[in-house]
């Protein structure tokens, strides 16, 4: 399967080249536009400032018609401040009387950036209104534009990759079928397994080897039968019939040339390819609203009870995450019972309705209901898609399959919030939500057309799942019977999720918009986090494995402690007076911290719960782990809202950071092996 590797390498090469060319042309275009614009825009901006000045003058002038002396007019300073807020291109407004300044707003500006207008009705008193434009405004405008273009470029890259997978999925599967038939011809009676797959070269190789082994075994069986027939010629019909029956069984078990069997197996690649696009669209629809959901909720009607706007903003995320956390374990069995296809279609349909009705929600209650429905839909689709991977992979291919699955989630996390932020600034919150509904509709249509019916044969070819299956209902008592497991959950798993959701989904969107920036900027921040996760998680995971191999001890606890400590430190970055740079540092540290701790933490569960896994099985233990972890997702925004209400943004960021730091320190004290160097504890605790 060297061809596949070659194909992959070529693909990445082409993508990199395309990316570089796109980036360079964006940079060039923006640069050229900036130079051209800068020269021509100043007069236009001055004209705009003049218009704003005229509308101010019409108000001031009314004072004259009522016979009020200019210096006695009330609220002029507030009026100027309001006007400057509404017109970001205005830097200074000044009202002067006989050459003396009466009211001013903003810093001194050079004369060529200032337009001067006499105030009607007060001409005799030589009253003059001076409005100055802000030379930084154009620069800021272009910065915003370049960032948006960069975001679009990154998103385009990832979406075209997704598209490529989608198209290639069908193509490769077809190629695989052709190859299968060629093989069949060469092998006479047997039709071999398809060798092309989306999931990776190894799997194909394995399947190929397996087919070869089967061929061998069939021939051996036939040869053995012949030998038996030869030696026991005299044996009666009874044994003959038995032999034929045995042969039949063997044939039915190993012959892949009949139509149903062929579809079922070479379909594996096709199925995972077919699941990819609908699942991605469904996730994308939801991620679109990440960067503005708190803002959207805060603007809705609450009802007769007085709930603080901060809490209102946190409730939709809470509802969504809570439903996801609680429903996922229950859904596993259900999804298996009614079938992956039907459950995915149900999830997509529910998501479509939920998005559409969220878009037109007028009250908080409506939004909460539809966001909860959206959470249920998300969980249903998630479980169904995960089920597809588990059903159509075996022990050897499962890791690759699940990596593809996680990849889809991460790509959506990169594309959704960033594009959603730009869209929200452009077409508004409701239209962006409605667009999400359209995406889920597309997902539904694609799933309807492409997702195959569930196999009638027994589901997974393997018996012992490597990764927690979602079929078992978690037994929460489990968490309380094992003290170390409970501590792992409460000191690491929950705080890690709590800080992530509190920061990325709640505080950052509100803070960024609160300091006067846009939803697009909030989206970019979330995107930065996701990009870091995509880049760092595999790197970190490999590093941990390498460390483990080199030192032959268990470095997981150290990584978890350091990762958690970094996540906590991230919050303290908000204490730095660096403007928008502070949240940037925060997101960066959070990304590093989370990517460090995620996989070691999951690995620790297996170690801490050795006994439970032996008795209850891996899926039961991981079920509890995931569920408790997801409760951290749900309470994150609530904790953040409460802290925000009490002490404002800085307090909320820093308090959550400090809390997580404390958890990290406690975790380090409890879990770090005694033989670990003392410095590591101190380092983690810092």
């Amino acid at each position: 399967m060297k061809g596949g590797a070659f194909f992959q390498r070529q693909l990445w090469l082409v993508m990199t080249v395309v990316m570089i060319v796109v980036m360079a042309s964006i940079a060039a275009t923006v640069g050229l536009m900036y130079r051209a614009f800068d020269a021509s825009i100043a007069p236009q901006m001055l004209e705009k400032a003049k218009t704003a000045g005229r509308s101010l003058n019409s108000l001031l002038g009314q004072g004259a018609t009522y016979g009020i002396p200019l210096e006695k007019l009330v609220g002029v300073g507030d009026l100027f401040a309001d006007t400057a807020r509404q017109h970001p291109e205005i830097a200074r407004i000044e009202l002067s009387l006989g050459g003396k300044g009466l009211h001013t707003h903003g810093p001194e500006m050079p004369a060529e950036l200032t337009t001067r207008l006499p105030v009607p009705g007060y001409e005799s008193a030589r009253a003059e209104l001076a409005v100055s434009i802000d030379p930084q405004y154009v620069r800021r405008l272009f910065e915003e534009m370049s960032l948006d273009l960069l975001v679009v470029a990154v998103v385009t890259l990832f979406i075209s990759l997704e598209l490529l997978y989608f198209l290639a999925g069908g193509l490769l599967a077809d190629l695989g079928t052709i190859r299968t038939q060629v093989d069949a011809l060469s092998k006479g009676a047997f039709v071999g397994l398809p060798r092309s797959t989306l999931l990776g070269r190894e799997w194909s190789a394995a399947l190929g080897a397996r087919a070869d082994a089967l061929t061998l075994r069939y021939h051996q069986a036939v040869a053995g039968l012949r030998a038996r027939l030869r030696t026991r010629h005299q044996v009666g019909r009874e044994s003959m019939r038995r032999a034929i029956a045995e042969l039949r069984t063997l044939r039915s078990r190993f012959n892949f040339s009949d139509a149903r069997g062929a579809q079922g197996s070479h379909g594996a690649a096709l199925i995972l390819g077919a699941m990819r696009a609908p699942f991605f669209l469904l996730l994308l629809a939801d991620d679109l609203s990440r960067s503005f959901m708190p803002m959207f909720a805060a603007g809705l009607e609450v009802g007769p009870l007085h709930i603080s706007p901060n809490l209102v903003a946190s409730l939709p995320i809470f509802a969504f995450m809570l439903v996801v956390a609680l429903s996922q374990p229950v859904l596993g069995g259900w999804s298996e019972r009614i079938g992956r296809r039907r459950s995915f279609l149900a999830g997509a349909a529910l998501a479509c309705v939920a998005h559409l009705l969220s878009a037109q929600a007028n009250t908080l209650l409506e939004l909460l209901i539809w966001r909860s429905a959206g959470g249920a839909a998300w969980a249903i689709a998630f479980v169904a898609a995960q089920g597809y991977v588990l059903d159509h992979t075996d022990t050897r291919t499962r890791t690759v399959g699940l990596a593809a699955f996680v990849g889809i989630i991460m790509v959506s996390m990169i594309c959704g919030p960033s594009i959603g932020g730009i869209l929200a600034d452009g077409i508004g919150h409701r239209a962006t939500l409605a667009l999400g509904a359209a995406l889920t509709l597309a997902s539904l249509a694609l799933a309807w057309r492409r997702l195959p019916a569930d196999r009638a044969v027994s589901p997974a070819p393997s018996t012992a799942p490597v990764v927690p299956a979602v079929t078992e209902r978690p037994r929460l008592a489990l968490a309380f019977s094992n003290r170390r497991f409970l501590l792992l959950l409460l000191l690491a798993a929950v705080p890690a999720k709590l800080i992530l959701i509190a920061y990325c989904f709640y505080l950052i969107p509100l803070y960024i918009v609160g300091v006067g920036s846009s939803s697009a900027m909030a989206g970019r921040m979330i995107m930065l986090y996701s990009v870091m996760m995509v880049l760092l998680v595999p790197l970190m995971a490999n590093w941990v494995v390498a460390q483990r191999a080199r030192h032959a001890d268990e470095p997981e606890a150290l990584f978890v402690a350091i990762g958690l400590g970094l996540s906590g430190l991230a919050g303290l970055a908000m204490a730095l007076p660096l403007g928008l740079l502070s949240p940037l540092i925060l997101v960066f540290l959070l990304g590093v911290g989370q990517s460090l701790s995620i996989s070691p933490q999951a690995a620790m569960v297996a170690e801490v719960c050795k006994d439970e896994i032996r008795t209850l099985g891996q899926s039961a233990v991981y079920g509890v782990y995931r569920m408790v972890e997801r409760m951290g997702n749900a309470i994150g925004p609530l904790v953040a809202a409460a802290l925000l209400e009490i002490g404002g943004f800085q307090t909320a960021f820093i308090a959550i950071g400090a809390l997580v730091l404390l958890c990290a320190a406690l975790f380090a004290v409890i879990f770090l092996p005694r033989r670990a160097p003392a410095g590591a504890v101190a380092k983690a605790a810092a």
Binding site: G67, I68, V74, G75, L79, H306
Partner: protein, 333 residues
């Protein structure tokens, strides 16, 4: 009899898609209109609406001339005339003709002819009806006072304040209810309310004594605004109250248009236009007459828009000028 006939007529005409034609073919509708102090802009708005709709109305006008004793005679007359609809202006007239909902008296009050009112500030508080919707009797109409929170917000845009003064007649249930509502609002919006009631005699009738001292006391208690609610006795003492407030340099805010149209030096207010109230009331009447709806099925409502009126002469006398930005949306007189 006639009501069912009208209903059928309405249904028929709806089918024929020519609503007024049927009505015009028959005799005009008869309305007995009882006013409190002669015709106001309300009645003019009402007549204009009917005229524009081509709805022929034969009015019988009766004026109480601010004398409640006259209302009993009008009620008797209405029972004899048996008009299609009764119109009443203000709380006193409406209660004098239709009676309170919790004291039914078919002998004294008109209970078998549908009634629509205007200018009842608080129809539920005054016990005209039990609720604004599903009122349970054939009475509907339009009230004219903006929500208290909107009024307080309007005062704030004119001039920020920490303490609000109120003068009212403790004998009027409506006024007592408004003071209580103001205090509730003050608790959530972080301002204080200081209130004084007019003096009363042994029978509980309000007296005009000590008004100047009461206003001076409010000023001393820190009041920055004087709120003038829809209080009947307050209207009768408006000149004195407003003059005293001017004397104390206390900004005055009114909930009703009539106060701002009077000679008394009242500064500003958030009010319904009487003319528009009349038109809206007439619209409700047309629903009864033309469409055959029952008055009890038509909700009692208020206008969705109010006028923010500022009297510049008073502002200058008080030396409390409105902020410039307010020129954008206030009506400056």
């Amino acid at each position: 009899m006639r009501r069912t006939f009208l209903k059928r007529a309405g249904a028929l005409s709806a089918l024929a898609l020519a609503p007024p034609a049927w009505a015009q073919a028959t005799r005009p509708f008869r309305i007995v209109a009882v006013t409190w102090r002669g015709k106001t802009q309300v009645e003019i708005g009402m007549e204009d609406f009917f005229g524009k709709q081509g709805l022929p109305i034969e009015f019988t006008w009766r004026d109480a001339a601010q004398t409640p004793a006259r209302l009993e005679g009008f009620a008797r007359e209405i029972k004899e005339l048996r008009p299609d609809l009764v119109f009443t202006w203000g709380t006193t007239v409406t209660l004098g003709i239709a009676g309170a909902h919790d004291a039914p008296n078919p002998q004294r009050y008109v209970t078998d002819v549908p009634l629509f009112f205007a200018m009842v500030a608080d129809p539920v508080g005054a016990k005209v009806v039990t609720a604004l919707k599903g009122q349970g009797r054939d009475v509907t109409g339009v009230f004219h006072v903006a929500p208290l929170s909107a009024q307080v917000e309007t005062m704030r845009t004119y001039r920020k304040f920490a303490t609000l003064g109120v003068i009212y007649n403790a004998a009027e249930a409506n006024s007592v209810a408004i003071v209580a509502s103001l205090k509730r609002l003050a608790a959530t919006q972080r301002f204080a309310v200081v209130d004084v009631a007019f003096d009363r005699d042994a029978d509980g009738k309000p007296l005009s004594t000590g008004i100047d001292e009461k206003i001076a006391w409010l000023k001393q208690a820190g009041a920055e605004w004087l709120y003038l609610g829809p209080d009947t006795y307050l209207f009768s003492q408006l000149d004195r109250v407003a003059a005293a407030a001017l004397e104390q340099r206390l900004a005055t805010f009114s909930a009703t248009e009539a106060v701002l149209n009077s000679r008394a030096p009242v500064l500003t207010g958030l009010v319904s236009s009487y003319y528009l109230v009349g038109q809206f009331a007439a619209f409700k009447a047309a629903q009864i007459l033309q469409k055959g709806m029952r008055a009890r099925d038509i909700p009692i409502e208020t206008l969705s828009r109010y006028s923010f009126i500022v009297r510049m002469e008073v502002a200058k006398q008080l030396d409390i000028l409105p902020p410039v930005a307010l020129f954008n949306y206030a009506i400056v007189r």
